[in-house]
Subunit: 252 residues, 2 copies
């Protein structure tokens, strides 16, 4: 059996089900390229030393090490940060394991997508979609965050923006994300990511980070390193505003 | 200090941070009207017998019992199912406590909204919004699920539907939700909730429930009781389809 297990956004967010699956596994694998993994909790729960898999191991080599374990009739677990199957990264592994006749289960973890809304008091009913802010590839910027936020602002919906991972595996800091968004505005000029656009930044949740509610131009000067996510809120309801203003600045 | 703590969708999904906050609290309150609470885990973690608060206690009386505890300089915790602050129910309490000068923290839990996407292998990047399927009030049906799903299907986005709570506090079963959606189609006739529309039902996650991938007309004949959520998927990518078909029918 293969279990795909999420440890949540940071220390303290592992669930009992996740810890049990790790403890009972014969082979413990993890990846830390889709999010910031709480390796200390993982090591404490695992009966043996966890084995790190790279994006190349899991994608280009289709998780060969995982299948080597499963073929011997053993229990394998793949541990990730956050929720393990929310992005599409591990769907191919689930499908492949099932096609090869192995039992697969996904153990959901606390996802930064839902948690970011929760800690900032924004209504999930107003979540209009999720996009990723990426560094330009070969000088080309992805317009998806711009187009999604534009569409959502017109409808009164909030936009959640995940931040890119750098080539070296580190996470895009907030100042770089703000700079990308402001650059998109300079090019598109439709009033979406203006310097005075308010944004909510959820930075290092579970790792002693903080919640910021400020403008894009101020975010460009933030020193804090990643991981973080951004929400571009549409018009706030009175209770959203009161609650968000109370939460802003608190440690996460 | 007031902590608002989520226990996740069902047994096994409590996080270490949630259990610690409950253990350390002087006054432990809970509510079970926004979701199915794992009372056994709560009782095991709490140092004293948890006190149940009704919607009336929290909304009409603004959480008076909670403030009675805080006023004595004690630590209060309010425990909910799922993620505690994702819906808007407890935002007013956070805002009120902060306005009265108390420190407040929200401890996010595993939310059914993110977990439903995760266990069914659907891409969160294609989440186009969240609505609730409600029983008619005074003969009037809410059109919000219909309009949101229509908008999302046109854009290739998935729609997440939460299900209503009955007057007696029980959760709307899937068959009733399917019936409401089919009734909306009979009235609107724009091809959104047709009998052969495919839906993903995540039923009793964490409580030995299951994942169904079937049509609305078949869901109308499902015996299973709630709690459940529905996803109306737009066109699936090949990997979403493969992974969802592998996951369908599994126990949750």
């Amino acid at each position: 059996m293969l279990s795909i297990v999420g440890l949540g956004p940071g220390p303290g967010y592992a669930t009992e089900a996740a810890l049990r699956a790790i403890r009972e596994a014969d082979c413990v694998f993890y990846e830390d390229y889709t999010g910031p993994l709480d390796l200390e909790t993982l090591r404490r729960a695992a009966a043996r030393e966890p084995v790190r898999l790279t994006r190349r191991d899991l994608e280009d080599e289709s998780g060969r090490a995982v299948f080597d374990c499963l073929r011997e009739g053993k229990k394998a677990v793949l541990v990730t940060a956050g929720d393990p199957a929310l992005a599409t990264s591990h769907h191919a592994l689930v499908a492949l394991a099932a096609a090869r006749g192995y039992k697969v289960r996904v153990i959901p973890g606390v996802s930064i997508i839902c948690a970011a809304f929760s800690v900032s008091c924004l209504s999930i009913y107003k979540l209009g979609g999720v996009a990723t802010v990426t560094y330009p590839r070969g000088g080309v910027y992805s317009l998806r965050p711009y187009e999604l936020a534009e569409h959502n602002l017109q409808r009164g919906m909030h936009t959640l923006l995940l931040l890119d991972v750098r080539e070296d595996g580190s996470f895009m800091p907030l100042r770089d994300a703000a700079e990308v968004l402001l650059t998109l505005e300079e090019r598109e000029r439709r009033g979406v990511f203006t310097p005075d656009r308010q944004a909510v930044a959820v930075q290092r949740l579970g790792w002693g980070g903080s919640l910021l509610y400020t403008t894009l131009s101020r975010l460009k000067d933030t020193e804090a390193e990643g991981p973080a996510v951004l929400i571009i809120p549409a018009k706030l309801s009175p209770v959203e505003r009161e609650c968000l203003e109370a939460a802003a600045g608190t440690q996460l």
